[in-house]
């Protein structure tokens, strides 16, 4: 079965997901996964969709662009690569890295450079920089899968050194602690 991934971007308003999903239904497509978020005023949605055999990719793209033009949304549609081409998963454990500190350029680049260098994968990222002195207003929360075969002490050390150079307070904690504390 052919699958596509489509992204929808634009100014947030009620009815965006309804509009996208109605067009997909009309084209006999099946939504397998969907995730949406709103950053400040902007909507971003990602859909993984399976297509009927007789639907050309171009026709779907045209229908979405035509149907969403009135909402002033940008749509990108791309065929999804087969799963057989992906490499086997590396054993890892989920951690949460949180930083708090004054806003400046290069914070995300600085922290993610270290995360990437150790082959850790960011699975979720929320970052808010509102400026000012309230630590809660300038926070980055990375959920990362850290490979179990790396030297975690070195990763901790490098992250802490980088955070210090960026004037950030950093916490690195296994994800289980947040689940144990907040969820029944």
């Amino acid at each position: 079965m052919r699958k596509v991934i489509l992204s929808v971007l634009g100014h947030d308003r009620p009815g965006i997901v309804a509009a996208v999903s109605r067009i997909l239904l009309e084209k006999d497509c099946n939504i397998e996964n969907v995730s949406q978020t709103i950053l400040q005023t902007q909507f971003a949605g990602i859909f993984i969709v399976s297509l009927p055999e007789d639907l050309a990719l171009g026709r779907l793209r045209t229908s979405l662009e035509d149907g969403l033009r009135s909402l002033n949304l940008h749509v990108h549609v791309k065929p999804l690569a087969s799963q057989t081409t992906t490499s086997p998963p590396v054993p890892n454990e989920p951690f949460v890295i949180t930083t708090q500190g004054p806003d400046r350029k290069g914070l995300v680049a600085g922290i993610t450079e270290i995360i990437a260098a150790y082959g850790a994968n960011i699975t979720n990222l929320q970052a808010v920089f509102k400026g000012g002195d309230d630590p809660g207003d300038n926070i980055m929360i990375y959920e990362v899968d850290i490979p179990t075969d790396i030297d975690q002490q070195c990763l901790y050390r490098d992250l802490r050194q980088r955070a210090e150079s960026l004037a950030l307070d950093i916490s690195i904690q296994h994800r289980n602690i947040f689940e144990a504390l907040n969820r029944i």
Binding site: V96, T98, Q100, N124, Q126, V128, G136, I139, I141, E143, Y156, S171, I172, Q173, H174, R175, N176, I177, F178, E179, A180, L181, N182
Partner: protein, 457 residues
């Protein structure tokens, strides 16, 4: 996916509200180390403890780092030494105490508990030898803690043992007079002692326990106080039922952390996980105080009218939250009121809000009893025994654990200050009222019979 609110609130509890795992306590059975031969016994004890405990501290540190939650203290609790060393003399037991202290130093734990005897129904030869050894043992060691259970709801109160403990406490204080009687800060007298307390000075490994077990003590008075403060700031009209619900939820969270860390430590050491003991245990740090919770609840200070009711609410809510969070809740689980270890409670004693009588009253609803209470040095052994007997009676009749950790500070009077240092803190010496004359009641001796279990009024 975690929400940012879940993450930020967790970080606040850790960073600004003193949430930590107060202690991971490794219980080790020494029962099969027993021997008539002192040297063999000491060797077996050394081998047994190092076998189980050599990795305790590094594993706790590593898991603490993994979760970003410090395991503040790592401790060991052993089988009652009065049983293990039943064949030994008092001076030989002091030797055993020094061995335990040396092993504790070797494996880098800050306290080792279990220099203990269970004498609620009578004293065997080994029990007498151990109690006789206590003052010397606690003077010659730094990390050793001792406890003696002198009463239980099923057996009654062993008044011979109570009087003996009064004398033992006096002697221990005199032997460490230069340090304000610090040996007594490592000595608890219990009624209904649990077999799985992770907190010192009462921790020992019960006779009914396995070869080794990990028990965890979590605390968090700062977290409870901040939760109350925040809730009242956003809604000053909260009633006490709503505040109780809030404390319950907070206790739930704190207990979950203890269970998570405890189970992982136990798995790493391949030792059975025992219990989580959620006790609001203060330290002499600002923001880590049980006394401050009373002020958050609206009382001028711990000790003023309303204190017993407030503590009853607090203790019950903590137990309910803990019981929901884990099916392995044990130990003491409640709120500690250690006078010298809590800046706020110590200050309440200094200002006169908290007297010995009020302290005794609130122990009817708190987790333990008269804890870290500095008394005038001139307090007699009979008077100390009387205070202990009163406290034991509260425990025995109410089917609960009670204990005393009393320090008659040599050469000092009521109103003066006693300094114990570190976690043991400092305190104003509280007056013992109406203690003149002889106390024939105490010297009658014998057993106060176990209470009736019906007609409960």
């Amino acid at each position: 996916m975690l929400t940012d609110r879940e993450i930020i609130s967790t970080l606040e509890m850790l960073q600004s509200e003193h949430l930590d795992v107060r202690t991971v306590t490794l219980g080790i059975s020494l029962l099969d180390c027993a021997s008539h031969d002192l040297s063999k016994l000491k060797n077996k004890i050394r081998t047994r403890i190092t076998h189980f405990a050599e990795k305790l501290v590094p594993v706790c540190d590593q898991i603490g780092q993994k979760y970003g939650i410090p395991v503040v203290n790592k401790r060991i609790a052993v089988s009652p030494v009065a049983v293990v060393g039943a064949a030994l003399t008092s001076s030989q037991l002091v030797d055993v105490a020094q061995t335990l202290n040396a092993v504790a130093e070797m494996v880098n734990v800050d306290f080792i508990g279990g220099f203990s005897a269970l004498v609620e129904k009578g004293m065997a030869r080994g029990d007498r030898a151990l109690i006789e050894a206590i003052p010397h043992a606690l003077t010659a060691t730094e990390r050793l803690c001792a406890s003696v259970n002198v009463a239980s709801t099923r057996a009654g109160i062993n008044m011979d043992a109570v009087l003996l403990m009064g004398k033992t406490i006096k002697k221990a204080a005199e032997m460490t007079a230069a340090q304000d009687g610090i040996a007594c800060a490592k000595l608890c007298v219990f009624a209904n002692i649990p077999e799985d307390i992770p907190f010192m000075a009462g921790a020992y490994l019960g006779i009914g326990e396995a070869d080794a077990v990990i028990n965890v003590g979590v605390s968090g008075p700062g977290v409870v106080k901040k939760a109350i403060d925040r809730a009242l700031e956003s809604n000053p009209d909260l009633d006490l039922g709503q505040i109780s619900e809030l404390i319950k939820k907070t206790a739930y969270k704190v207990t979950r952390i203890g269970e998570l860390i405890g189970r992982e430590v136990a798995d790493s050491l391949k030792i059975r996980f025992g219990v989580v003991d959620l006790s609001l245990a203060p330290t002499p740090n600002v923001g880590d105080s049980v006394g401050e919770i009373f002020q958050s609840l609206g009382l001028l200070s711990i000790g003023v009218p309303g204190t017993t009711a407030a503590l009853a609410l607090l203790n019950d809510a903590v137990k309910k939250g803990g019981a929901f969070a884990s099916s392995r809740v044990g130990g003491l689980s409640g709120a500690f009121i250690p006078v010298s270890e809590d800046l706020n409670i110590s200050e309440a004693a200094r200002q006169g809000h908290l007297c010995l009588e009020k302290l005794e009253a609130i122990t009817s609803v708190c987790s333990v009893g008269l804890d870290m209470v500095a008394l005038p040095g001139e307090t007699s052994a009979e008077t100390i025994a009387g205070i202990i007997a009163d406290e034991m009676a509260i425990g025995v009749i109410n089917h609960k654990t009670t204990a005393t950790r009393l320090i008659p500070v040599p050469g000092k009077k009521a109103g003066e200050s006693a300094h114990f240092g570190g976690l043991l803190g400092q305190s104003t010496i509280v007056a013992v009222n109406n203690a003149t004359g002889s106390n024939r009641f105490i010297t009658h001796g014998g057993i106060i019979p176990a209470p009736i279990h019906s007609l409960t009024n």
